[in-house]
């Protein structure tokens, strides 16, 4: 049963990707995407219902698979090499060769051996599966309409949508493979597939900027890939196994510290930690569903997943502390940089980088609450950020701009989308939603690492600033705005579903924790499969119980609405413009001319110069990384 589900989740999307690529008919494609979406959702739920398990593959099939995956992995490197020559990028060419040679050597060294327990579905995988297979398909469905509009705006002669959806499907399959594989070589392969997908999707629009940013993404991720493969070789040389569950049982940390550092480095590149953040910002040129799916909710979490997976091995070491520091630094620095951004997608991108940093910090802290918070944040952030990106995409299609300053009166122009976007932003910033709770836990658990905690405190203050600007803009009222929203089931439908999911995950945080995180902690960290031992509820955490909290908030809101009915304005007047109003937003000025009063949010562009600050932040983060490796390699 489980193996069929695996087939459905990994191979089927990949196969259908090929079909979609071959058959360019739009209707057929839509059916395919919808079908895959349904299958993925159902199989993910079924697999979770089955519970934690190993899936073994024996005999010829296993051998064939090992060879196929090796060949495909080599092929990806060759593709990268090809693009290296095509773009005349020596760095890319060198990186792809640097990946190719160790890859081949390593496979020769291990004689193309595989792992019997090829797949391992534990509770961490399940968390990731939920994210990938519920949010992913919803975004794919959303993309159906979005890409139609997108191409409409581009005035293309021939549709390129089949490339787009093929890549998306390929990506979903690869992501499922990544989070379930137990063979570290396979993880590396799926890892490289997601890199490739990301590259193809960023470059999808074929514009100059798109191609340049795609190239950059490929280079940085390939750098991570090289670190990954080197890490695998190191691991093998030390512990002679490529099965993840066996590596995890290895208790002598010092032996594995160098390979683990390499894997963490790979995770940093994939999760766009400073100084590797530039590719994720560049990736924002891609169509918005790509940003939502790959570059905020799922693919960037692959790096987090990798670190999370191997964290039990190196927790409590220098590596973990330094990683926590780099994560916290990223959290603060990205939040600070987000203040200076006017482009809504870039704000979201910086916020994503920032949150990924927080996840890494939480993962690398030896505290049971931190692990809870990290796992929760992966889900909560994925859901909320997907929602936000999709809303920004919808707004961008409607008003032709993704600049925050152009979104005045969006509340009247696109009421539903603006409402959902506001909800998404609030769920990222304010209580009682979960993201804030994880930040709260973050501060409380990092008390043992004061510098890290201090960075989190600074970062959360900056976070408030840019989110409040964002929400304020979405809610601002413009008397001249008119409604232009058109509703489609497949367009706003996924948005609404994701919003509901965001609400549900926040309310049922504790149930979620009990279901997934507590068992994960007991098996991965306490080395016990007895799920009753560490059943730590967040409710133990200072008497905090989310549903009660939500209930109080709901009652408060009800109260507010009652009071508000009493307070409803009796008369509307024009705003205060020093008495010179000539219209709602206009005033008389020089020679009785009518001028528009304007308002632009503060971005501190003179102080927070993105270019200079990025340079500074990159230097600091690089220095931290060098210190990390310097100490480990001593």
């Amino acid at each position: 049963m489980v193996s069929y589900l695996l087939l459905a989740m990994i191979l089927l999307p990949m196969l259908l990707a090929a079909v979609v690529l071959a058959v360019t008919d739009r209707r057929f494609r839509n059916v395919c995407v919808l079908m895959v979406s349904g299958i993925l959702m159902v199989s993910a739920l079924l697999i979770i219902k089955t519970g934690a398990a190993f899936v073994e593959i024996h005999g010829t099939l296993a051998e064939v698979l090992d060879y196929v995956i090796f060949a495909a992995d080599v092929a990806i490197s060759l593709i990268a090499l090809y693009f290296g020559f095509k773009f005349r990028s020596i760095v890319l060419a060198v990186l792809s060769i640097a990946q190719l040679i160790p890859l081949v050597l390593f496979h020769i060294q291990i004689n193309f051996a595989g792992v019997e327990k090829a797949f391992h579905i534990d509770h961490l995988s399940m968390i990731m599966l939920l994210l990938v297979n519920i949010i992913g398909p919803l975004i794919a469905v959303y993309a159906l309409h979005y890409m139609q509009e997108h191409e409409h705006h581009q005035h293309l002669t021939a549709s390129r949508q089949h490339y787009f959806f093929a890549t998306i499907l390929l990506f979903l399959g690869a992501m499922n493979g990544l989070v379930m594989a137990n063979n570290i070589n396979w993880i590396h392969f799926f890892w490289e597939v997601t890199t490739l997908c990301s590259f193809l999707l960023i470059g999808h629009d074929q514009t100059e900027a798109a191609l340049a940013n795609a190239k950059r993404a490929l280079i940085i991720n390939f750098f991570g890939g090289v670190a990954f493969i080197l890490g695998i070789m190191f691991i093998y040389s030390r512990v002679h196994t490529i099965a993840v569950h066996e590596i995890l049982t290895y208790s002598d940390v010092s032996v594995l510290l160098i390979p683990m550092a390499l894997l963490v480095l790979a995770g940093f590149t994939k999760s766009a930690q400073i100084p590797f953040q530039s590719w994720l910002l560049g990736a924002m040129v891609a169509p918005t569903p790509v940003s939502a799916l790959l570059h905020s909710s799922t693919m960037v979490k692959a790096g987090i997943y990798l670190i999370f997976r191997f964290a039990p091995v190196f927790l409590g070491t220098w590596l973990a502390d330094m990683s926590a520091l780099i994560g916290a630094f990223t959290f603060a620095a990205a939040a600070l940089l987000a203040i200076s951004q006017t482009n809504a997608k870039r704000i979201l991108a910086y916020s994503t980088i920032s949150n990924l940093g927080l996840m890494i910090t939480l993962i690398c802290i030896l505290d049971i609450y931190a692990i809870y918070a990290a796992a929760l944040l992966i889900v909560l952030h994925g859901v909320s950020k997907a929602l936000l990106f999709l809303c920004v995409g919808t707004i961008e299609q409607a008003i032709g701009s993704r600049d925050l300053e152009d979104m005045d009166g969006i509340r009247q122009r696109l009421p539903l989308t603006a409402f959902l976007a506001t909800f998404g932003a609030i769920s990222m910033l304010l209580p009682p939603f979960g993201v804030l709770i994880t930040k709260w836990i973050g501060i409380e658990v990092t008390a043992s690492l004061p510098p890290v905690m201090f960075l989190i405190i600074l970062g959360s203050a900056c976070t408030v600033f840019f989110w409040a600007k964002f929400i304020g803009k979405l809610l601002s009222h413009n008397p001249e705005a008119e409604k232009i929203e058109t509703l489609f089931l497949t367009y706003q439908g996924p948005l609404a579903i994701i919003a509901v999911l965001a609400l549900i995950t926040s309310i049922f945080m504790i149930e979620f924790s009990n279901m997934f995180i507590a068992p994960f902690i007991s098996s991965a960290y306490l080395g016990s499969s007895d799920q009753t031992i560490p059943n730590v509820l967040i409710s133990d955490f200072a008497g905090f119980y989310p549903p009660a909290f939500f209930a109080v908030t709901a009652i408060a809101l009800l109260l507010v609405f009652i009071l508000y009915n009493w307070l409803k304005p009796k008369r509307y007047v024009q705003p205060f413009l020093s008495g010179e109003n000539s219209g709602h937003n206009q005033f008389y000025s020089l020679s009785d001319g009518k001028f528009n009063a304007g308002f632009r949010n503060y971005y501190f562009s003179s102080v927070l110069n993105e270019h200079k600050l990025t340079y500074l932040m990159n230097s600091i983060a690089s220095a931290l990384l060098i210190v990390l490796f310097g100490v480990i390699l001593r």
Binding site: D403, E405, D406, L577, S578, G579, E580, F587, Y588, S589, L590, S591, F595, N596, A597, G598, F599, R600, Y602, Y603, F604, S605, S606
Partner: protein, 359 residues
């Protein structure tokens, strides 16, 4: 950077005592452009003077501005007197100096208070205005009214100051000087005040000269000129020096005015010491003819009156160039590049009198 913050600053704005509008175009909070719009106080007063009798016009020009009303009347009277070749009695010349300096005292106190209010120092504002009431009491005692005292007349002054009143005034001034010492310490040394005034809205010596700034604005930029030194009224018999500061920022402009308060007290004391006995007005007969330009140093700088008379009881033309008008180019130069928070301070630092400027 397409969108900018555009803010109509005034006409109804509590920081501005008078209606004027500055359309501020800002980035973050830095003003990139300030476009003034005026006309809110324009009444057509110059035209009005052509319909009134020459003696009545004293009351009209006093209402050009309620703060420096005495100086306006003085300037007008001096113009008409020199057109008609009237020599005013010595006593009235000294009385004019005394009232003139009292006006300067009340105007500078008022300004110091408004400045304190503009940078949010409420208790300092209260203190300045509390001190000012001493001057207002003197006005009320000597003239019967507080702000528009109407003691000027063609050929001299309308009221005398007797020796009892003199004693009271000198006493009050002693008290005022003590209080002034207190507020001077706050204005010149307080950390927060310095933060808000030093190096804000700087006008260099060259700029001040080139833009034709007058009065304290000019003197704060290091140009030493005070129209009183030319010796109109009784100033030629009194001993004083123009007060000059070098740095040209708001702090310097504040210091000039603060020190001028001491100077005024000193001048009034000198004037009382030298006050001659005698009549307070000479008789005036007939009507003036010809044209003349006269100047007087007001609290805000020099005011220029151009009077054209034709031998009848009505003037052909009366033209007033007020100090604020001369300082507006300097103001517009100052505000560029300031932050929004400094705008009220910069505007106040020229001590604008819009009702003078627009008449």
């Amino acid at each position: 950077m397409a969108k900018k913050t555009i803010l109509p600053f005034g006409p109804q704005h509590p920081v501005l005592p008078e209606p004027i509008q500055l359309q501020l175009v800002m980035e973050d909070e830095i003003v990139v452009e300030a476009i003034p719009a005026i006309g809110y106080v324009h009444r057509g007063l110059e035209k009005l003077t052509e319909t009134k009798a020459i003696a009545e016009n004293i009351f009209v020009v006093e209402r050009i501005c309620g703060i420096c009303s005495f100086m306006h009347a003085l300037c007008y009277c001096q113009g008409i007197e020199s057109l008609m070749n009237i020599t005013v009695p010595d006593r009235s010349r000294f009385l004019r100096v005394i009232w003139g300096e009292l006006h300067r005292l009340h105007s500078h106190h008022l300004w110091l208070g408004l400045l304190a209010d503009a940078f949010g120092f409420e208790s300092l504002f209260m203190q300045c205005w509390r001190n000012r009431e001493m001057v207002m009491d003197i006005m009320e005692m000597t003239a019967g009214s507080r702000v528009i005292i109407s003691t000027n007349a063609l050929g001299g002054v309308r009221r005398d100051i007797d020796s009892d009143q003199q004693k009271f005034i000198l006493n009050s001034l002693n008290k005022l000087q003590e209080e002034l010492d207190n507020i001077k310490r706050v204005f010149s040394d307080d950390y927060t005040v310095n933060k808000r005034l030093v190096d804000v809205a700087v006008i260099s010596k060259e700029d001040a000269h080139e833009l034709g700034a007058v009065g304290p604005v000019m003197r704060a930029s290091g140009l030493s000129f005070d129209y009183r030194t030319t010796g109109y009224a009784a100033y030629n018999e009194l001993d004083f020096e123009p007060i000059v500061e070098q740095s040209g920022d708001c702090y310097a402009r504040m210091m000039v005015r603060l020190r001028e308060c001491y100077q005024s007290i000193d001048i009034i004391r000198q004037a009382f010491a030298k006050l001659p006995e005698g009549p307070i007005a000479s008789p005036v007969k007939g009507f003036p003819s010809g044209e003349i330009a006269t100047r007087v140093e007001q609290p805000r700088g020099e005011v220029l009156y151009y009077i054209k008379a034709n031998g009848t009881n009505h003037l052909d033309r009366l033209r007033v160039r007020t100090p604020t008008f001369a300082n507006i180019p300097a103001l517009l130069k100052m505000v560029k590049g300031l932050t929004l928070a400094d705008i009220p301070i910069a505007i106040l630092s020229i001590d604008p009198c819009i009702s003078c400027t627009e008449r």
